[in-house]
Symmetry: C2
């Protein structure tokens, strides 16, 4: 089944490079497109965290991985399927990250911990409710190693 | 900016009604489309939780909310913007939920806590890593009340 989606907002930050790590210090502005009003953010400041959905638009012409691969081409880690990793070159090129909301200002929100570069198109924003969060997650060792410098 | 997306899998469960609450007991099968092989799930069983991205396809002809509304039309709760709530009738009609992985079986995975009805198209599946989860979230009282029976 096919669907058309449209960006609802855009990322504005000072990160232009696609390197994998070191996303921790970046503050990003998320500015609504012309067709959305400030009202669509009403009450958002009562949430500490939001989930941001975006498109890896710079990766769209890359090869989509649909089988399995070593994460980051690192042969010390096992080959894992595309749905067992979070890499960019994936079916539909959709990224999602939970961020900390710093402030709302007119048609913009400012957030911390968004791992998306400047001008990335945003396709949805949802508030984080604790009732949707898991407790006691289990994950493989390779993913812990991969994340080591991610938020530094 | 516009993008085309395609479903990668489909939900199979015994939930056909769109009612808001009582999603807790449902086990869902997520079966890959023909174009994806079992290999794209390789290693997924090492994660306890996955995030499932889907399209509220039954809602696509409904009015999109782009301003603010009382959640579930309940006037006891404040009017909040579409990006401060998780309702279906939203720009791009994308849902996302963190589920518990029960087992992998060929081209299917079986999960608990997916709040999507039978035949819902899935557009992505990502593993949950603790490094992407927030601690100490804050949320408004209306959202706690709204979630009271959600997972029952």
């Amino acid at each position: 089944m096919e669907f058309n989606i449209r960006s609802v907002a855009e990322v504005i930050n000072n990160r232009d490079d696609l390197a994998d790590d070191f996303w921790g210090e970046i503050i990003s502005e998320i500015r609504l497109s012309d067709e959305y009003s400030e009202e669509s953010f009403a009450g958002i400041e009562e949430f500490s965290h939001l989930e941001i959905f975006f498109v890896f638009d710079k990766a769209i012409n890359n090869k989509i991985v649909s089988g399995s691969e070593h994460p980051r081409e690192n042969k010390d880690w096992p080959k894992v399927g595309i749905f067992a990793q979070r890499k960019k070159n994936r079916p539909n090129f959709i990224g999602s990250t939970i961020v900390e909301l710093i402030k709302k200002q007119g048609k913009s929100i400012f957030v911390k911990n968004l791992d998306a570069i400047n001008k990335t198109p945003i396709i949805d924003i949802k508030p984080v409710m604790k009732e949707f969060l898991p407790t006691n997650t289990i994950q493989p060792q390779w993913s812990v190693e991969l994340m080591k410098d991610y938020w530094k």
